[in-house]
């Protein structure tokens, strides 16, 4: 109360001086064009002519979301407005703005007193940004929102060892979706009807969600941002911790806003502005890592499921037998049949049993009293082996090595005996033959894929295909995992229907099946697809069919991928026969972002098949 009283008493005498000083600061800011400076625009999240922040409280001027100069004037004025509670003052609410303007304009503490901000200081100390890590959980095909992977930031506390990483605070941008919106959630995300915000939560929660529950590998990239840069990011995060932003699934998503947050630290080389139509997490990761000398350290945190699969794949039949005997309690840890093996093989068996028990336990499949005695005995037997017997494989490929997600193709070939040239463009993201590094094995998602052809016979250009989306999830089954593989797609493409006819047909299909790892980087799959074809080229305008979709994908060398595939669709009422399509394709990666693809296929109705041969050059960007 006495503080407030003295403030009121002092007000008339100090007001005039303050007004003069404020006017001087505003004039200096205008003269230097600070309102258009990249730092100020980054702090206000300006993109083009307006801000992407939608929370009115974030702006102090009535048109602050469209007028950065007005917002700068209002911000300077607000710094002079007395507040009974310092934490509610503009200085403490907008810490990053205050510190940047102070640095640029050299505030005189005698005329603009700097306030202590106890709430901010406590919050900042709780996060303690000793280092900055960009975290990338790999793609998760079972949820549309995670199909391309995800990105978020983590702040590790100063002076703490890597053993404390789970306690670090993570900064995650996500859409505000009410829990029970069901199907509407996906539509709204695509159409921009949601808002998103940053959330700060302990890293262990995210590891639990992504690695333990969703079986996604996590990649961690420690970034060489300076202490001052990390501080600026965190100060800005304080300003926007309750601020909502426009959210669009494709271009205003978690990765876009992560880049926008990093831009606050390095506004002179903005990362977010590099993206126009879409921000795919892998592309955002590569944009961050493209900064000179930015990567300090990289770490792979494989999901338990990944470790299990890799250990199992690396184990021969005899050791698998011992491992299963341990799991079935037919054999005890330390039994002679185990100790007779070299330490590395014993370690591999114990590690696999440990991971298997943990996996079952983490899912609640087994109660502690059932698994704990064996787990403890196995872990202790493993601990008695020499430390260098660790056989942990590091499966998975670094997403930072992945190709760009858009693709431009130029090709030529022959179809039904007639030559053609083809131009294609794909919006996203990866098919089964594209260069594999950085992508999940057996997972393919393409969206917005269009191909135009010019036929040599009549020199006319026509639409060859337009795929809206195609998702193929081939998750191999093994001793422990029995996942189903599935695919789904929609679009238009030309199809040989016999008698020389090749109309453009709408195609909507989905299927379920099984996949198996054949070893040596080969994967075999078999699905049953249901397909709806539509178009004027079919009697009644539509045909509904069912049939197998079989194939083998083989990564013959790190650069060469091969595929054999065959589909047969029985469309009993409308096509008067079985539609066949089988062929082979080879993709040679000439570099990370260039590949050459040769394919041959035979398509049509039995006894009336046409050949297609194609050679295409693809550029990923």
């Amino acid at each position: 109360m006495p503080r407030l009283l003295s403030l009121i008493l002092l007000l008339p005498s100090t007001a005039a001086h303050a007004d003069d000083y404020l006017a001087g600061l505003r004039a200096a800011a205008h003269a230097r064009g600070l309102a258009q400076a990249p730092e100020w625009r980054a702090l206000l999240h300006y993109h083009g002519n307006g801000s992407e922040a939608v929370t009115p409280d974030f702006f102090l001027a009535s048109h602050g979301a469209q007028d950065p100069a007005a917002e700068l004037d209002a911000t300077l004025a607000a710094f002079f407005t007395p507040a009974a509670d310092a934490d509610a003052s503009a200085q403490c609410r907008f810490v990053a703005r205050y510190r940047w303007l102070k640095q640029e304009l050299g505030f005189d503490p005698a005329r603009l007193a700097e306030l202590a901000c106890p709430a901010f200081d406590k919050w900042y100390a709780g996060i303690d940004p000793g280092s900055l890590v960009l975290v990338f959980p790999a793609a998760f095909l079972n949820n549309p929102a995670s199909m391309y992977g995800h990105t978020f930031l983590r702040f590790d506390r100063a002076g703490r060892g890597p053993e404390t990483e789970l306690e670090s605070q993570a900064v995650n941008f996500s859409a505000d979706i009410a829990g029970n919106e069901g199907m509407a959630a996906a539509y709204k995300g695509l159409l921009g009807l949601y808002r998103g915000r940053f959330q700060i939560e302990p890293y262990y929660r995210l590891v639990r969600e992504y690695a333990d529950i969703e079986d996604r590998d996590i990649w961690e990239y420690r970034l060489a941002y300076t202490a001052a840069e990390r501080q600026r990011i965190l100060e800005h995060l304080w300003e926007i911790r309750n601020v909502q932003f426009r959210y669009y699934f494709f271009d205003r998503n978690c990765s876009y806003y992560l880049l926008a947050l990093l831009d606050v630290a390095r506004p002179e080389h903005p990362l977010a502005a590099r993206f126009v139509y879409q921000v795919i997490p892998g592309d955002a990761l590569q944009a961050v890592l493209s900064q000179p000398d930015v990567l300090e350290q990289e770490r792979h945190r494989p999901a338990l499921a990944t470790r299990l699969r890799a250990r199992l794949a690396a184990m021969d039949a005899a050791d698998r037998g011992l491992m299963l005997a341990l799991l079935d309690r037919r054999l005890a840890p330390g039994a002679p049949s185990l100790t007779a093996l070299p330490p590395a093989r014993q370690a591999a068996i114990y590690d696999l049993v440990t991971d298997r028990l943990l996996y079952a336990a983490a899912r609640g499949d087994e109660e502690k009293d059932a698994y704990a005695p064996l787990l403890q005995a196995v872990v202790q037997a493993r601990g008695a082996l020499p430390e260098d017997a660790d056989t942990l494989p590091t499966p998975g490929t670094d997403p930072a090595l992945g190709h760009g997600s858009m693709r431009l193709g130029l090709g030529a070939g022959s179809d039904g005996g007639s030559g053609y040239e083809e131009l294609s463009l794909r919006g996203a993201y990866h098919d089964l033959l594209d260069p594999a590094p950085g992508f999940t094995e057996g997972a393919a998602i393409t969206m917005g894929d269009i191909a135009l052809r010019r036929d040599d016979a009549d020199a006319r250009i026509h639409l060859e295909s337009l795929s809206l989306f195609q998702v193929t999830a081939l998750t191999p089954r093994d001793l422990f995992y029995r996942p189903l593989s599935w695919d789904a797609g929609a679009g238009w493409e030309r199809r040989w229907l016999g008698a020389g006819r090749r109309p453009l047909l709408g195609d909507l299909h989905t299927g379920l099946g099984l996949s198996y790892d054949l070893g040596d980087e080969a994967l075999a799959y078999g699905l049953v697809d249901a397909t709806l074809l539509t178009g004027g080229g079919i009697a009644d305008g539509y045909a509904l069919g069912l049939g197998p979709y079989l194939g083998i994908v083989w990564r013959a060398t790190p650069r060469l991928d091969l595929e054999l595939s065959a589909t047969a669709g029985d469309f009993p009422d409308h096509l008067h026969g079985i539609s066949l399509d089988y062929g082979a394709a080879a993709n040679l990666a000439l570099g990370r972002d260039v590949s050459l693809r040769l394919s041959w296929s035979r398509q049509g109705l039995p006894g009336d098949l046409e050949d297609e041969t194609d050679l295409g050059l693809y550029w990923y960007f």
Binding site: N143, P144, G161, E163, V379, Q380, G383, F469, T510
Partner: protein
């Protein structure tokens, strides 16, 4: 334009997915509740059901309000609602796109395995920081229980590099600030509690009691 085209594409698939809900999923689902401390009386929409640990049937079709009451503790209220299952595409095949889950925004309840929830009760008069710490510790334990158990099973030493990340985090959570230089004594206590108890809720209760997080 591209955004609209993509939206149309996914919408088509979602429309297909919508059909799948017609074929199954069931109208009821079992939810199990444990609590720290145990012995809380559970009410569903005001009607008394029993005492924790408890398993109940809930309808998938509408929101259900649960409350957990125990003398000397603040009542915890949670709402179970029907959500889009995060295992979206997989459940298209399984025919059960919707599942009932608890809104865990309050931090006092946490889902720790399929359909199992752990509710943390706080003694009347506990300050907000102490209550938050209690909730944090119990939710951390029940969600990371298997990993904690495995890391506590090895020979523990004072070397931080030999200590697993999950137990280091737990030791730091239960220790007083500044006591994280040598975690070995805390880890030994945690191991003893782990060995004596019989599951995640039991262990969480024992840790909260032992470290005075009441």
């Amino acid at each position: 334009m591209k955004r609209i085209a993509s939206a149309l594409g996914l919408s088509t698939l979602l429309a297909l997915a919508g059909c799948a809900t017609l074929f199954g999923g069931g109208s009821h689902q079992k939810l199990s509740f444990d609590s720290a401390p145990e012995g809380a009386t559970v009410f569903m929409n005001g009607q008394q059901l029993g005492v924790t640990p408890l398993t109940v049937d809930v309808s998938r079709e509408k929101g259900v309000a649960f409350s957990f009451k125990k003398e000397g503790f603040n009542t915890v209220a949670v709402v179970a609602d029907t959500h889009l299952n995060p295992w979206f595409w997989g459940d298209v095949a399984a025919g059960s796109l919707l599942s009932t889950t608890i809104d865990t925004a309050t931090d006092s309840s946490v889902k720790y395995s399929e359909d199992r929830y752990f509710v943390t009760l706080t003694a009347v008069g506990t300050g907000p920081d102490a209550a938050a710490r209690r909730n944090q510790v119990s939710s951390y334990i029940v969600t990371n229980y298997a990993a904690i158990g495995s890391e506590l099973s090895v020979q523990l030493s004072s070397k931080p590099a030999s200590q697993g990340q999950h137990i280091v985090a737990l030791a730091d959570m239960v220790a007083l600030p500044g006591e994280d230089q040598d975690r070995l004594p805390t880890l030994n206590v945690l191991r003893e509690l782990y060995t004596k108890t019989h599951g995640a809720p039991d262990f969480a209760n024992a840790v909260l009691t032992k470290f005075g997080l009441n």
